[in-house]
Subunit: 293 residues, 2 copies
């Protein structure tokens, strides 16, 4: 059993983007530039955005952080995005989710210029992903693909089971794994809350992506010997032994599942660490796109 180490792969992705960015800066005087919009003071969102900004610094990208009060008017937010859309200095735009309830997530995302949509949530980005066209892939599925690639995991003709049909993980994951690419070319089964016989379905899987958000859901009896298990869960569970008062749990009963696997991602330390690297890949691609056009 081999642990798919998010730390190692993320570091390798960052190194690679850093080198490519250095080349872009040298040859085209173009520094990739990410603009991040953060609304309110949600603790998790603060941490995510801070890490994104810090990573930009580490790999030689520019970044701009625009902060808004919890009560910001939707129109001000949309106008800000429109300005960033036409700002030649800015390559990628991300709006940290979730948004306050009075703001339409759909409107906000649809306002981002698709050529700067580094989160890959715009319908046009998702549509291109489905059609196999060059596009920005949402960070979590992209991170998983980078991980499978890094460890040279053979996916062709394998049966992959994706548990969860969310727009940001399960759905794009199921599409990417079934495309005529490498990694890819899996037979893919997508399961969700209305699925029956989940145990029997998972038992057939060569590759399982668990993205349903129920800690410890995937048990040892649900997987076959030698399966590849990708755990996307990151649920905060109360834990009195931790200073923070919680620990992070994945969707997989790791202790019992891991011994049966050929490869498995830990939580924490697995997929979660890949997302920022994926975002940086997208931001680099956005900058590169601008030079080509």
């Amino acid at each position: 059993m081999i642990i798919l180490d998010g730390k190692i792969v993320a570091a390798s992705v960052k190194e690679s983007v850093k080198a490519k960015a250095a080349l872009l800066i040298r040859e085209h005087k173009k520094t990739p530039h990410l603009a991040a919009i953060l609304i309110g003071t949600n603790g998790a969102s603060e941490t995510y955005v801070a890490n994104k900004v810090k990573t930009c610094e580490e790999i030689g990208f520019k970044s701009t952080l625009l902060r808004f009060d919890e009560n910001v008017k939707e129109q001000l937010l949309l106008d800000t995005i429109k300005k960033l859309n036409v700002d030649d200095e800015v390559d990628g735009i991300l709006v940290q989710l979730p948004l306050p309830k009075h703001i339409s997530e759909e409107k906000v995302i649809n306002t981002i210029n698709p050529s700067k949509d580094v989160d890959g949530f715009h319908p046009s980005s998702i549509g291109k992903l489905v059609q196999g066209l060059p596009t920005f892939i949402p960070a979590t599925p992209y991170g998983i693909m980078l991980m499978l690639k890094h460890y040279k995991i053979d996916t062709v003709g394998k049966h992959a089971v994706v548990i969860g049909r969310s727009n940001i993980v399960g759905r794009p994951m199921s599409i990417l794994l079934s495309q005529n690419t490498n990694p890819g070319n899996c037979t893919v089964t997508i399961c969700h809350s209305r699925s029956k016989n989940l145990t029997e379905i998972c038992q057939q899987a060569d590759i399982i992506v668990a993205a349903l958000g129920i800690p410890g859901f995937l048990k040892a009896n649900m997987i076959k010997e030698g399966a590849v298990v990708i755990d996307v869960g990151i649920t905060r569970v109360a834990d009195a032994t931790k200073k923070s008062g919680f620990s992070i749990k994945g969707d997989v009963d790791f202790e019992n599942v891991a011994p049966k696997c050929s490869y498995i991602t830990p939580v924490p330390g697995g997929v979660g660490l890949m997302t920022i690297g994926a975002l940086m890949m997208n931001t680099f691609a956005a900058a590169q796109l601008k030079i080509k056009n």
Copy 2:
């Protein structure tokens, strides 16, 4: 075993759109208007477009047919689409595929204003479909959904196997069937040319959508008793007994498969007949959208 009769369902869909269009004309002085672009003189394309125009007439829609020579310049085509995009009289635009080789299908489709993209091939339309937002659904998958609905086939929690991952049938079909809608909420397995153990996978299916384009591919031993079988294949096979010299064959070995099914679509007379009705639904929706905005 019940035959899913495309003729009956298509007639019912057309009647329903006709009634809704009459209301739109009466209450809003708005006649749905489809503009179709046809390039060259391909026999099948001629027939398809002629049927679309004829159906428009039958149900009280306006239609405009724009014909171009096989050698038309790409730019002229793009300019024509741009004019239709801003023409307030036109609600839906379709460009009959396939296109001559010197014209980029991607460019042509991406030029169509997404709010008039009644074929549902624009990345933005596909993206919205993935995200479960209101959009134009490509005609074949839409037709199949209308058929499942008409016959009140229970899909919730069922295992659907889709054979084929094309952008216009297999892929959108797999997405629609797995969404939290009715019909929908299936566990969906998408298979393709690189899939292994196809027989075993199909044997588990409560619903099979065969969209691979190999006549008679799906045999009786591949399905379980009581399955619902949807045949999307429409291959022309040489047939000396026909005046045309060919007959149309589906992907299903109908004669042997039908007795084991609960429901099955024939070819011809099944899914193929649904596509024009679906297109008319989309064109009506485009006209209605314009009134709302």
